[in-house]
Amino acid sequence: MNFLATIGAVVLAFFGHLGRLTIFTATAVSHCVRPPFYPRHILRQMIDIGYYSLPVVGLTAIFSGMVLALQSYTGFARFSAESAIANVVVISLTRELGPVLAGLMVAGRIGASMAAEIGTMRVTEQIDALTTLSTNPFKYLVAPRLIAGLLMLPVLVLVADIIGVFGGYMVAVYKLDFNAGIYLSNTISFLEPLDVISGLVKASAFGFIIALMGCYSGYHSKGGAQGVGAATTNAVVSSSILILTVNYVITELFFGT
């Protein structure tokens, strides 16, 4: 009986959580499209998410591109298919690795920071103070972060794509002695606009997910330092899982047969 009760409690908690998240998402989105807007806050969040995440995303991308070129070479050389390396690097990066790795890195950096900041504001009554000052916390705190996440992740991913391809180029040309002109020509000729567009659509979705889960976890945090810590963990774990799930769904929509 206790076992059944435990399962029941878990199921109820899950649906309760899902309901709260749905209401939170609908409220947040409705505030993103209705004035007043807070341009200063949106700009600040865009700088936080875009500019300050550039080093970590850039480093991830360049090493991913380098490893991809190296690993592809060791595999393809057995079949004398080295000329496909440029193709593999550019397609893998633009379609998958660029958006997913950037998404996961930004989830760790920005999702955690949003959850911690908003969670601390919740437990120190700063969010209640906003309400008493006739300021809607969704408009002031959540909407700018969602808008900034939605807009800046594609920019980050575009930069990551370029840096990643450059990483692959460096390994191919300077380590594996490929002809620079032919490598670049292969890269450009194999690349289709849809490869880049699908990556950017994924990036927008990931940016929205990261900001949403960061804000949601922080907004609903309880207690003191422990509650804020739990909110931070929840934000990173839930946004990472959602990124991987949504990545499959979008891939299926764009490239599924």
Binding site: E117, M121, T124, E125, Q126, D128, A129, T131, T132, L133, S134, T135, N136, Y140
Partner: protein
């Protein structure tokens, strides 16, 4: 014709799960009157203030401000209704991402859309009213002592010239002298500006100094309401025990030995 009370609570109830926190609260607060609610920790004093402000929704009963029912307002109506209120939070609840002046001017900039230059000027004037000099204006809240944070919180509460101010434990965590300074500031702000005040506190010296009337909350009910001067001779054994801070009496603390 009798004057409409500034705040009227009629049979307000609020529960969290099976726990009844407010169990039929009925109270009138007249214009320019200062009412203090006393009661032990966890008796629902803060919940009552949050229900009036719409931060929490009352389960049943009616909350009226200037004769208008504000119990279940929509978000936009709530923002408008809250323009009448100011609140001093127990922990200050200052926005740590903003300098002191912007904390004080927050309601003016966000709520009243005052330009930043004028808002800063008004913030510095308001800081002067609570005994803080202009050089404090540029500091961050984390650079202030507890007493100074309370003063900044008080300045923020009164900066928008609200008709009603709530004080949540205004002297908690302060030394007796600083506590009395805050009490004097509250009295002068409330009396000079004709503000209606609703305060909650454990501090009897503070309650007697800042209140015209005192009400005691116990087990979700207001068990005594009377003139602040008569609280020492209330003829109510619960009030008597609380006022004199005795461990023995009808109020039993849940202590495990």
């Amino acid at each position: 014709m009798t004057e409409v009370p500034k705040i009227r609570l009629t049979d307000v109830r609020k529960s969290f799960g099976a726990k009844k926190v407010l169990d039929g609260i009925t109270l009138d607060v007249a214009k320019a009157e200062s009412v203090v609610i006393i009661g032990g920790s966890g008796t629902g004093k803060s919940v009552l203030l949050k229900c009036i402000l719409g931060i929490l929704l009352a389960d049943s009963g009616a909350i009226e401000v200037d004769g208008e029912n504000v119990t279940h307002l929509r978000a936009a109506q709530r923002e408008a209704a809250n323009k009448k209120f100011g609140m001093l939070f127990q922990g200050g609840a200052l926005f740590d991402s903003l300098p002191v002046w912007e904390n004080v001017a927050f309601g003016l900039i966000q709520g009243e859309h005052m330009n930043r230059k004028d808002a800063k000027h008004r913030a510095i004037e308001t800081l002067a009213k609570v005994g803080l000099t202009a050089d404090v204006a540029e500091l961050s809240p984390s650079e202030l002592s507890g007493g100074m944070q309370k003063r900044v919180g008080l300045a923020r509460a009164i900066a928008g010239a609200p008709e009603i101010v709530f004080f949540d434990e205004p002297t908690t965590g302060l030394d007796p002298i600083m506590g009395d300074v805050i009490n004097d500031l509250i009295v002068s702000c409330v009396r000079n500006q004709g503000i209606t005040a609703l305060s909650i506190t454990h501090d009897m010296a503070s309650a007697k100094k800042i209140g015209d009337r005192i009400a005691m909350l116990y087990q979700g009910k207001l068990i005594w309401i009377g003139d602040a001067k008569s609280v020492d001779a209330s003829d109510n054994e619960y009030v008597d025990q609380f006022v004199h801070g005795r461990a023995e009496g009808p109020i039993k603390m849940q202590v495990r030995r």
